[in-house]
Symmetry: C2
Subunit: 93 residues, 2 copies
């Protein structure tokens, strides 16, 4: 399964449906699921949440969205600011 810890799905460069599937597994176990992304993957994270909600699990809703900034070291060792997003999904009661 693409990068995840217990309740998080980290969005990278794999196909959207890989992440959608990972999130569905968590939600079907009764857990909340937090979709996390940085930089350009932020758009992809929104796609994952929307595809999941509209195409696969109509009983899922967005519980909250948080944006932030992280300082990351680039390949040259220089630090730079990168935007981040966390989209929390849960099943409607």
């Amino acid at each position: 399964m693409p990068g995840k810890d217990d309740t998080s799905v980290y969005i990278g460069r794999r196909p959207t449906n890989n992440y959608v599937l990972a999130a569905m597994v968590m939600l079907n176990e009764g857990k909340e699921c937090v979709i996390k992304a940085r930089g350009r993957a932020i758009s992809h994270a929104v796609d994952v949440a929307e595809v999941l909600k509209n195409r696969f699990m109509h009983n899922v809703e967005v519980k909250g969205i948080v944006i932030g900034t992280e300082r990351l070291a680039g390949p040259d060792g220089k630090e730079s600011n990168v935007s981040s997003i966390e989209i929390t999904l849960c099943k409607r009661k």
Copy 2:
């Protein structure tokens, strides 16, 4: 000023600071400001909100974030689904 109506800033391909400036003008007039983007520009919208909040206006906060899906006609006339985001910013009281 890059694409905007009365309280919205539409994010496109211009430099981040163009949009930051447009948002600052609205916020300084006492209005709320809604940063809107579709597709790949979503990551850019988060950058604009974060740069504004962290570098230029420390008294601004994110009031709400909404994600959605819009159906758009492509250049070939075919419709496809595109994710969207709206980030509402306001000055802290």
